[in-house]
């Protein structure tokens, strides 16, 4: 009969030799392997104290970036929500009042911006759709929790903290940087400049 595996060994009842009967050589051999592992590099790390470096294409928790002056870039245009295949993003727009220019870059802003992290599949289409370079996926993990409602991230968790901005330079490809240097695409910039 053909065996199912090539690695099977036929058990034999042959008598053990004297060295085998002593057991000690086998135990020492086993201990050697065990002790060797003490001095090898560990394959695990103690998360969350230490974190691994992610690949540059890693897509984790979102951030709503601020511009150079600390004003929110998001203008609640809704393109991220349209692009989102999981329908995880919802928002409510509001009009910027006089005196809030330092808070919001455009005359319209998102008063409510929510991402359901349980629905989100981290595909990055929102980032691609964003015309204002407001939303980015970062190398941060979404924290675990016990209740579903805590996974709906509002602006408190999504907007870039002013004191320590989150670095998204990895996500800005060389192509987008190059694109920005073209004068013929600078119409938006000119428009906002002329308003000031």
């Amino acid at each position: 009969m053909q065996t199912l595996t090539t690695r099977s060994k036929v058990a034999s009842n042959k008598k053990m030799t004297l060295v085998e009967k002593l057991y000690l050589p086998a135990i020492i051999g086993g201990m050697r392997i065990t002790l060797n592992h003490f001095f090898k590099k560990k394959v695990t790390i103690s998360y969350p104290e230490k974190t691994r470096e992610f690949a540059p294409v890693f897509r984790g928790q979102h951030v709503l970036k601020r511009d150079e002056n600390g004003a929110e870039r998001c203008t609640a245009c809704g393109l991220c929500a349209v692009a989102c295949p999981a329908e995880a993003i919802t928002m409510t727009a509001a009009e910027r009042k006089p005196g809030e220019e330092a808070l919001y870059r455009e005359e319209k802003y998102a008063s409510v911006y929510e991402i359901n992290m349980l629905r989100c599949i981290f595909c990055g289409l929102c980032e691609e759709a964003c015309p204002k370079e407001a939303i980015f996926l970062t190398d941060r993990m979404v924290d675990t929790d016990y209740v579903r409602k805590n996974f709906i991230y509002g602006k408190d968790k999504l907007v870039d903290p002013i004191d320590k901005p989150i670095d998204v330079s990895k996500r800005e490809t060389t192509e987008t940087k190059e694109f920005k240097t073209h004068p013929e695409f600078a119409h938006n910039k000119l428009y906002t400049k002329s308003l000031k």
């Binding site: 203008t75 245009c77 809704g78 009009e95 319209k108 015309p131 119409h187 938006n188 428009y191 002329s194």
Partner: protein, 336 residues
Amino acid sequence: MPKVTIDGIEIEVPEGTTILNAARMIGGKVVPPAMCYYSKLKTTGGYCRTCLVKVAAGSAKDPRPMPKLVVSCSTTVQDGMVVLSSTSPEVTEARRGVVEFLLINHPLDCPICDQAGECKLQDLGYEHGLAKTRYEFPRRTFEKEDIGDKIKLHMTRCILCYRCVKVGEQLTPKRVHGVMNRGDVAEISTFVKNNIDNEFSGNMIDVCPVGALTDKTFRFKSRVWYTKPMDAHRDCKKCCGKVALWMKGEEVLRVTARKDANNEAIEWICNECRFDKKQASDWVIEHPTHIDRHSVISANHYEKESQLKLGKFTDHKMIGKEDPNKYLPKKKTKKS
């Protein structure tokens, strides 16, 4: 009745019809885009020049081609005229140029603009692939202005099509706004900040091809494509009461006039219907409004087959053509 051939399709139209209207009778791709012409308003057209067409043969009597491209909205057809609209590369090139001109001073603030998603200028720009601008100077900018308590004017977005001025002239007894100054510095404004408070003034929001005139009761409420348009009506003493409700769930966010296939209001509605009746209980909802499949608003929008038929073929009057509805599955009728 003169016979005219547009893009190889022959149609018989009444005397005095313009090329644009003849093309609209055929419908589909043949129809030239129009930013300023509005069939429901008199003396519109001739300003924007997006409706340029090539006349390959003037008439049966004089078959010479017209030397330049002509504006289809104000050129009447003649018997035996041969017109090239979307099939002529020369026309496409000219329209591209016109759109570039329209966009010179138009801000690219579509992410903020309430008109985005139903804006004809956006469609045109997209169609002609005008992502870049060659214009290097600062654009014209204006402060936002409240004209009346319900309408907001964004003069920066205005393309000076004069449609709203014609609404003021023809729908309301006393026009209080118009185009000030000339040429490069022309702008829409009211006479000494005069308020617009006529009962039909709200229709200028509907006729505006861009987002220059916006409904203040809908301002920044929602993007157009998150709302579901519904045909609805109510008994109104001032107007026909037939409107399109733009709903989000049970909430009525916006009320507009019903639009036909050419994006023109079918019947005007009054300001009371437009601005004050924002409860679903104020209206008798008929069915979802017909939305073109290519439009962003058509996402998650479902219509019944019978309705598709309604929206698609009764908007154009098919003159001299066989009934297109005959190809649709026949409705079962009760034997009388």
